[in-house]
């Protein structure tokens, strides 16, 4: 019997395999996966919240689908993401688009799916959330992160989820993002403390960084 592949933080390999080709199957509605194991999504909320609270540099990477107000639902998701970032606390670093930017990328304030490891390394991010990124681009980034960094990746996917993340939700909505924030709040009340290194979220204007840590 072959050993079941586990989707764990790396660095995994020079070119790590896609988890789907290792037999990892995506969750069905109502489910999530933790490191490749299919679970009821309730279990994943708790697990994800603890992982995020336990991180030194927990970071949310919102993608184009939630950064741009292309419909009302996107705006609601953006609000929920901000609430989640505040609840943890977690840094917000945007994936504004998918064009290859190397070497011009400023890894302190942005992440790019073609070389996401640069942002992970630069900021020493140990746990992150992908949300609002098109699935194909998210899978590339998640796999490259697994290949070259030790970051624990969490995907909050509005579609079918991501095997290439260490933990993945599917069918997310503003409400489910709030649910993760509520789980964080509950755990905090129960005495689980955030291990995040204190930081000030950067604020950007048309001229550049206005304040905050970069």
């Amino acid at each position: 019997m072959e050993e079941q592949y586990q989707v764990l933080p790396g660095p995994e390999a020079f070119l790590p395999p896609a988890a789907a080709s290792q037999g990892i199957v995506l969750p069905d509605p109502g489910q999530a996966h933790i490191e490749g194991r299919l679970v009821d999504e309730e279990e994943a909320y708790e697990y994800a919240a603890r992982k995020l609270l336990g991180g030194k540099v927990p970071t949310i990477f919102p993608g184009p689908l939630v950064l741009w107000k292309w419909n009302e639902k996107a705006a609601k998701k953006a609000s929920a993401i901000r609430r989640l970032a505040n609840a943890l606390p977690a840094r917000l670093i945007p994936m504004a688009d998918y064009r290859p930017k190397y070497p011009k990328i400023d890894p302190a304030v942005e992440i790019n799916p073609n070389h996401p490891n640069l942002t992970i390394w630069h900021n020493k991010i140990d746990v992150c959330i992908f949300v609002g990124v098109h699935c194909h681009q998210a899978n590339l980034a998640l796999k490259i992160i697994r290949g070259g960094t030790d970051c624990y990746t969490i995907a909050m996917c509005a579609q079918a989820g991501h095997e290439d993340a260490c933990l993945s939700f599917r069918d997310i909505s503003p409400e489910t993002i709030d649910k993760l924030a509520a789980t964080v709040e509950r755990l905090k009340k129960e005495g689980v403390e955030s291990q995040a290194i204190p930081f000030e979220q950067f604020v950007m204007s048309r001229e550049g960084v206005v304040k905050g840590d970069v």
């Binding site: 939630v66 950064l67 107000k69 993401i81 901000r82 304030v109 604020v203």
Partner: protein
């Protein structure tokens, strides 16, 4: 997408990179009177480019992108080559798939958008080099004209294959010595503007990009005519300064020389009388609207 939808979510806007904040605040989406004069006073749709310093293609891109009348509802199709190094930086959806198939892609795309958005104007443009347009893709270029596909084909004519290092192309001048033409090109520069007109293009323009107002005029005319009549074609001389042995600052002079009397890029337009009348009417409308807008601001 309406201009209103090109906006950031308030709750995450202040983490967005500066160039996007600027794009949302000052780009001329939704302004049907946008044009090359906006360059310098508003955010351009090109963020950056990776072409050679002084490359006339880069200025052509800036003039075109500032001139298209409907950027919020326009999609570009490119082809492999120098242009496809610029396109990832353009704030408009654009497709690169294979080398030479651009007019086939655009045919399918324009029809799909017409089917999906029957009540909206969605402009489709092809922008490709001369190798893609005239050599490897000529069949698909011309067939899209025969079929009367409603989009504009723009050819960046630099008279050779630039991205692969300066090989002979169909639009190269006769006698020019280049890679793959070691004893000089044996046949004349293909007369694509005339071929385009005979193949069913309703508006054809050939010019250089030395004068932004001319580029703007050609782009707007081609767009309007493509919406109402069918295919249109613009051939722009964008010399490859690298491959013809010029310096970065010499591109403009090269274009000016080529468009002076007797030159091969003296500006020409080909169109039927019907199209001429349509353009006249359309430009009178534009003028009246601009005048009124000015009066309101004053």
């Amino acid at each position: 997408m309406s201009k209103e939808k090109i906006a950031l979510c308030e709750d995450l806007a202040d983490v967005m990179p500066p160039e996007y904040q600027e794009l949302v605040a000052t780009a001329t989406f939704g302004n049907q009177d946008r044009g090359w004069k906006d360059i310098g006073s508003s955010k351009e749709l090109i963020e950056q480019h990776s072409l050679c310093a002084g490359c006339p293609e880069s200025i052509a891109f800036r003039f075109i992108m500032s001139s298209i009348p409907n950027p919020e509802d326009s999609v570009f199709v490119g082809s492999t080559g120098c242009t496809s190094l610029v396109f990832p930086q353009v704030g408009i959806h654009n497709i690169h798939s294979l080398f030479g198939n651009q007019n086939a892609i655009a045919s399918g795309l324009q029809r799909a958008l017409a089917v999906r958005f029957p009540d909206r104007v969605k402009d489709v443009y092809v922008l490709a080099g001369d190798g893609a347009t005239v050599d490897i893709g000529l069949d698909m270029t011309m067939q899209s004209w025969f079929r009367q596909e409603k989009f504009t084909t723009i050819c960046f004519d630099n008279e050779l294959y630039a991205n692969t290092g300066g090989q002979e192309s169909g639009l190269m001048q006769k006698g020019f010595v280049a890679k793959m033409a070691p004893v000089g090109k044996k046949f004349e520069k293909v007369k694509l503007p005339e071929i385009a007109f005979e193949s069913g293009c309703h508006y054809v323009a050939i010019l250089t990009v030395s004068k932004p107002n001319r580029v703007e005029q050609a782009i707007r005319r081609a767009t309007y005519v493509a919406r109402e009549f069918g295919p249109t074609y613009i051939q722009l001389y964008t010399p490859c300064i690298l491959e013809i042995g010029k310096q970065s600052m010499e591109g403009l002079d090269e274009m000016k020389d080529s468009e002076s009397i007797g030159g091969r890029f003296v500006m020409r337009e080909l169109m039927t009388d019907e199209v001429k009348a349509f353009i006249k009417e359309k430009e009178a409308e534009d003028k009246a609207r601009r005048k009124q807008a000015k009066a309101v601001t004053a």
